[in-house]
């Protein structure tokens, strides 16, 4: 987020922490420069969990999840191949401050570092095959510790880090 305000040594976090005459502030400016932006969620808030099965359809991630959690995405997810059913790859880019906090692939297990590739933003490929599924870090640095394609279903969680 754009800067932080400290009060008695503690960072003001969460939603609507700063008030002026009793009114919650969304942004705070100093000499024309934005020095603080309120968090849309309390840092650490789990925003959504997405699970999909081999041979299924992932289009609701592009439509329903994007519609329900627009702040978590930098833009609407789009396909690099297919249109939701096998074989499809949906490219999702998370907004700054949002990250993949959990990834489980039925064959390969759970991302073991608990943070994934990063704790803010990044682009991922959500993969849907006829017998396999998976999630892979496409850009933004690092990689998940669990392979991006394996038998049966997958699940990932997106959490707000505020960073």
């Amino acid at each position: 987020m754009a800067g932080a305000i400290y009060f008695n040594g503690s960072e003001l976090t969460g939603q609507h922490d700063v008030k002026l005459n009793g009114t919650n502030m969304d942004n705070v400016y100093l000499n024309g420069s934005k020095i603080w932006t309120r968090h849309p969620y309390t840092p650490g808030t789990e925003i959504f969990t997405y699970s999909w099965s081999a041979g299924g359809n992932i289009n609701n991630l592009r439509t329903t999840y994007y519609s329900n959690y627009p702040l978590a995405f930098a833009s609407q997810p789009s396909y690099s191949s297919g249109s939701g059913s096998p074989d499809s790859t949906l490219v999702i880019t998370l907004a700054d401050g949002f990250y993949v906090s959990y990834y489980n692939q039925a064959e390969h297990g759970t991302d073991s570092d608990g943070v994934g590739a990063s704790n803010t933003g990044g682009t991922y490929n959500v993969w849907q095959g006829n017998t396999v599924t998976g999630l892979a870090r496409a850009s933004g640095g690092g990689s998940l510790s669990v392979a991006g394609s394996g038998n049966n279903g997958s699940t990932f969680k997106v959490t707000y880090s505020g960073q």
């Binding site: 390969h108 073991s112 990689s143 510790s145 392979a147 394609s149």
Partner: protein
Amino acid sequence: MTSEQIASCYEGLCKVVDNINAGKPDIMTQSSWDMHKSINMEWLRGIVKADFWTDEDLTDANTLIG
């Protein structure tokens, strides 16, 4: 990463190498296999460069990715 996490990651890496070397399962379509292999080869290229490996034998993975 803890030693347990590294061990888990190494187990996954070995499984991916074995799966790719085994070739396409009959149940999988060719298009799915092509994408599946491509995704996991890309993952292998990244994960072998991770800085958490200690004395794990990455020879087979490095041979596979060339």
